[in-house]
């Protein structure tokens, strides 16, 4: 039995002549929080709509819990809850009525509404018309609608859009809770890596419809090769000494220089070499690119 909640195999999708998803092979393990990252217009929302069968994929390219989506639409959707783009809500109904309507459609006991409203912190506005909600409140209501049926798989498209910092933290904690305590699988899309790296266990990076990276957060970190950053009293002399001794300088400017990190012993030897050649070393240490720069590097390559 497949251990994957979502699997796409060479998924390609186009709107007319414009290809929006190119040969996408995504694998979302069960129980993971999969951060689906990419700049605006990268194809994230289109992919999510394909996963929900809102856009029809070619056959045998999308599998939800191991079942092909087109031939198992209803049984797949029964196991999913989703928030796609801006929340889809009826403005003339109250927040609670929006949830009751969903309960009617899904055959869920209406008592679940109060519980779900409490989870997203909207109990106080339950009887207010949803059309009068702020963007953040609408977003919470959208998440409540997605959570209502207690689905095994949640697809959240930029769920923190419009939320204030407290709201963002609450949603983040909610996602972690759902995945760890309730064993849910969550696919959460975002264009902000910083938001994803705090919660996600797995990451997929998409740009221009192509999946450029897929793996765990640790694997993403490991992509970034560490370097040794050296600050000295005479950068030019230090560079010359290192080059003369066959050491590759990957970056150099008037304030610092970087060479490839191999191990701590090698770093010590570099320090000794510079000091013996009358260069005063102010600082020396391992530097690793943060994920944000890594994300920009990856997405700028295609």
């Amino acid at each position: 039995m497949s251990n994957l909640a979502i699997e796409t195999v060479g998924l390609t999708y186009s709107f007319g002549p414009q290809i929006v998803v190119k040969n996408l092979s995504m694998q979302v393990p069960k129980g993971s929080i999969y951060g689906f990252l990419g700049p605006n217009g990268a194809g994230k929302t289109t992919t999510i709509k394909i996963l929900l069968n809102l856009l029809k994929s070619p056959s045998d390219q999308v599998f939800i819990f191991g079942k092909e989506i087109n031939s198992n639409r209803i049984s797949s959707l029964k196991r999913m809850g989703a928030l796609v783009e801006q929340p889809a809500i009826y403005g003339h109904l109250t927040g609670k009525e929006n949830l009751i309507n969903r309960c009617i459609l899904l055959g869920i006991n209406k008592s679940k509404c109060a519980e779900t409203l409490a989870i997203v912190g909207l109990t106080y506005a339950a009887d207010k018309k949803a059309g009068q909600y702020s963007l953040g409140m609408k977003q919470r209501l959208g998440i409540a609608l997605a959570l209502l049926s207690d689905p095994e798989l949640l697809l959240l498209d930029e769920p923190t859009n419009g939320l204030d910092p407290n709201g963002i933290i609450e949603i983040r904690n909610l996602m972690v809770d759902l995945a760890t305590k309730h064993n849910k699988t969550i696919l959460v899309s975002s264009h902000l890596l910083a938001e994803i790296e705090r919660t996600a266990t797995h990451v997929g990076i998409i740009n221009k419809g192509e999946l450029l990276f897929q793996g765990t957060i640790t694997e993403l970190h490991n992509l970034s090769k560490p370097t040794i950053k050296i600050e000295a009293d005479n950068q030019q002399k230090a560079t010359e000494i290192l080059v003369k001794n066959g050491i590759e300088v990957v970056q150099s400017d008037e304030n610092s220089l970087n060479v490839t990190f191999q191990n701590k012993e090698e770093m010590g030897k570099l320090n000794t070499l510079l000091v013996h050649n009358n260069v005063t070393v102010f600082s020396i240490g391992v530097e690793r690119k943060d994920l944000e720069s890594l994300f920009l590097d990856i997405t700028s390559k295609n």
Binding site: E85, G91, N101
Partner: protein, 262 residues
């Protein structure tokens, strides 16, 4: 089947606070009250009429207004209002991402619009009977109570209701195609005017124009001149209305099934 009924229940729940729902109830009430006020104020002139003629004059006055213009406009508005709820909240995508067959979602919306139209027609018949008898309570010289119009009223409004089925399907299809008020309303209104003109001039192809069917139904009833036994519920325009309704309903479903939710 369960999916269809839950979807239908949801349609009622969503729309119960909207103008479309309340107009289906209030329109017959307001028109009947206005017309009864007119009869009350004209009571001395009408007092010589027999009960059967009184009922005929009373109900055809309402029936004429309704069939010629109000019914098509009400249908055009109701189909717009019921579909626009989904466009307005951008909720098509959430409806279609629920574990419900697309046919249930589509059919429940259609049936709900048909149901709203049916309720309006039924209420027209009920309110005409109630206000007719109410007029006699205020003006006893108008002997509405001496004739029982119930059967003919329900038959006439059934005919009018059936004549609107074709228009409902066409308007529903247009509203699914376009997230717009002007296009379906404009086209629907244009066809309604065309229906009025072609029915009045007796165009030989008028039986093929669904927007003319309510008008043809009214003309058919008017031609009985009070001898309601001459009235047939099912005539060619009614059959055509049902055929249009079914064919366009099927076309609409296939269009919706292929609809891209961008």
């Amino acid at each position: 089947m369960r999916s269809f009924f839950v979807s239908l229940n949801s349609e009622f729940y969503k729309s119960r606070k909207t103008l479309a729902f309340w107009s289906a109830i209030l329109l017959p009430l307001v028109i009947c009250l206005l017309m009864s006020w007119g009869f009350i104020s004209q009571a001395p002139k009408l007092a010589n009429n027999s009960a059967q003629i009184l009922w005929f004059r009373y109900f055809t006055a309402i029936f004429g207004v309704m069939g010629i213009l109000l019914l098509p406009v009400l249908v055009i508005y109701n189909t717009y209002a019921v579909t626009n709820m989904e466009y307005k909240g951008d909720t098509w995508k959430s409806l279609f991402s629920l574990p419900l067959p697309k046919l249930s979602i589509y059919a429940s919306k259609y049936v709900y619009i048909v149901f709203l139209t049916f309720i309006t027609m039924l209420l027209f018949a009920v309110f005409i009977i109630l206000t007719g008898h109410g007029i006699q309570l205020i003006k006893s010289e108008l002997k509405f109570g001496e004739y029982n119009p119930n059967q003919i009223l329900f038959r006439s409004f059934s005919k009018l209701f059936l004549s609107s089925i074709g228009i409902i399907s066409i308007q529903f299809l247009m509203n699914l195609m376009w997230n717009d008020f002007l296009k379906p309303f404009g086209i629907g209104f244009l066809f309604t005017i065309m229906g009025i003109i072609t029915a009045n001039v007796g165009w030989k192809y008028v039986d093929y124009l669904p927007y003319a069917y309510p008008n043809l139904a009214v003309r058919n009833i008017m031609q009985t001149k009070g001898d309601f036994n001459k009235m047939l519920i099912f005539d060619q325009p009614i059959y055509n209305s049902l055929i249009y309704g079914i064919i366009v309903f099927i076309i609409g479903y296939f269009m919706l099934a292929k609809k891209t939710i961008k």
